[in-house]
């Protein structure tokens, strides 16, 4: 009779504050994306300039005629009817609209309310980020999440493992090198950049912090960076959700809900 000799150890991986920060952050980011698309819809184009400059338009979404939606990217136009430019009006019909109703909060076009949601949840997301940072720093497990120079040689072997070109992942701590790279980039580079480019859009902030808006190339340019930041965040979220769904969904979900995670045999605790 065969039996497993693998000792499945349960470890308490996430502190309560970390878990709360994760879920508040996740909800806030979802709201920020959909209310952000609502705000984008009011001026559905992005210019690489300080003031609006059609000659430096990078992206625009429009409806040249009823029933037709178009996306123009660097001067190349694509038909996107039903999704971008022409789609759901959020109240059961279709209309000329950059992003469709099922992607925006509220579903119908309302810039004033989109702004209310966006600015309220910008505080929620920022406070969740801060709570996570403080909680991780206190617990001392920031170190196991941040990418270090010694992780760099392990990035390619880890990618090879994901591509099934390698049987085992390289030995690593709580997080594998690619996870560390992703989390370090998202939490310490992307998230602050999204906040700063958002602030740079506000005339009241620009009046007290000119260098911030200048740094990003001006107000419209900051709007472009803010949008690109959102796209990168969406990319991260899709990979993140895919990973959670495929790398032991119930174990992963349990750990982010109750804190307890079951270690697999190639994993260990600590950095």
């Amino acid at each position: 009779m065969r039996y497993s000799t693998i000792v499945q150890r349960l470890v308490y991986r996430y502190a309560l504050l970390t878990r709360l920060a994760h879920w508040f952050g996740a909800i806030a980011v979802a709201v920020l994306i959909s209310s952000g698309l609502q705000i984008f819809n009011a001026a559905p184009y992005l210019d690489a300039a300080d003031r609006s400059t059609p000659a430096r338009r990078v992206l625009s979404i429009g409806s040249p005629a009823d029933g037709v939606g178009q996306l123009t990217l660097f001067g190349h136009t694509f038909t996107t009817t039903g999704f971008l430019g022409w789609g759901s009006d959020g109240v059961g019909g279709e209309t000329a609209r950059a992003f469709p109703g099922w992607l925006t909060i509220p579903a119908y076009q309302d810039l004033a309310d989109g702004r209310r949601w966006h600015f309220f949840f910008a505080w929620v997301a920022s406070l969740a980020w801060l709570a996570w940072l403080v909680s991780s720093a206190i617990k001392g497990n920031l170190a196991e999440m941040v990418l270090r120079p010694s992780d760099l040689p392990k990035l390619l072997p880890m990618q090879a493992y994901y591509l099934r070109l390698r049987r085992e992942p390289p030995p690593h701590g709580t997080y594998n090198p690619l996870q560390k790279a992703a989390y370090t980039f998202v939490l310490f580079v992307l998230a602050p950049l999204i906040v700063l480019t958002g602030l740079a859009l506000s005339p009241g902030i620009d009046a007290i912090a000119h260098p911030l808006t200048v740094l990003f190339g001006g107000r419209q340019f900051a709007r472009l960076w803010h949008f690109l930041g959102m796209l990168l965040f969406v990319g991260f979220a899709l990979v993140h959700i895919f990973q959670v769904a495929t790398q032991g969904f119930f174990n992963q979900m349990r750990s982010m809900i109750s804190g307890w995670y079951r270690l697999r045999d190639h994993e260990s605790v600590g950095p």
Partner: protein
């Protein structure tokens, strides 16, 4: 495979639920009010900031300054003003002031002028740079001397929407006395065109464009704007936009 399908469909349901749940909460008056409290926080933090809007050079001026407001007034009063080149226009200053008055356009033009090349940021997301020349609002207010307990300056305008509701805006005293808050008479070196708000347009470069009211007819100093129209202090504010428009 069934589990994968279950997971994929629950994730899709969670994402797809975002807009309908958000819309339902948006239509809930209590939640809607809660969201709006953030605007009061912004006003408390930034509302009376003395920061100056960035100044640009002549080369930065937008070749085309968009028109994105209520339509140019078509009333007989405005037509008459337009017909005589605004010679009969006089800016009224009323309310909680020591000396209520009417200031003819020629007198405004004769006061010390300020020029600023500043960026106009529309709440919709576009921006345009223009050179504005006119009288700092604080110079005009000093002529009339607001009462000590006055709190807001209301701008009553000549434009109306298709329901007949007039445009109006308001600033608190600190915003009204901000050195860049201007009663503009010229855009890019020429008298302001009718569609840009002739003859007198407010310029508040530290806030979003809806504060920069066009076609200003009267300045009214008040202790509260709660009794005016929708009670929120402005035409767009009455439709849900924040009173402090610096964000």
């Amino acid at each position: 495979m069934k589990r994968r399908l279950f997971l994929a469909s629950s994730i899709a349901a969670a994402l797809g639920g975002c807009a309908p749940i958000g819309t339902a909460l948006n239509d809930n008056p209590g939640f809607h009010h809660l969201l709006g409290l953030e605007g009061a926080l912004d006003a408390a933090i930034l509302g009376n900031s003395a920061g100056l809007a960035r100044q640009y050079s002549i080369a930065d001026i937008s070749p085309h300054f968009p028109i994105d407001s209520l339509p140019t007034p078509t009333s007989s009063t405005y037509e008459a003003l337009l017909a005589n080149g605004f010679r009969s226009y006089a800016l009224a200053i009323s309310g909680a002031v020591e000396r209520p008055m009417h200031i003819p356009l020629a007198r405004l033009a004769g006061m010390a002028q300020q020029s600023q090349i500043t960026r106009h940021d529309c709440v919709e997301g576009w921006s345009a740079i223009g050179a504005w020349t006119g009288v700092p609002l604080r110079d005009v207010l000093r002529l009339a001397t607001p009462h000590r307990d006055a709190r807001y300056v209301v701008f009553r305008c000549m434009d109306r929407d298709d329901q007949g509701t007039p445009y109006y805006e308001s600033l608190d005293m600190a915003q009204a006395y901000h050195p860049q808050t201007l009663l503009a008479l010229q855009l890019n070196g020429r008298p302001i065109r009718p569609d840009h708000g002739a003859p007198v347009r407010l310029r508040v470069p530290t806030q979003l464009g809806y504060k920069s009211a066009k076609w200003v007819a009267e300045i009214q100093v008040v202790g509260s704007f709660a009794h005016l129209y929708g009670g929120k202090g402005g035409y767009w504010e009455d439709q849900g936009y924040e009173w402090y428009a610096g964000i």
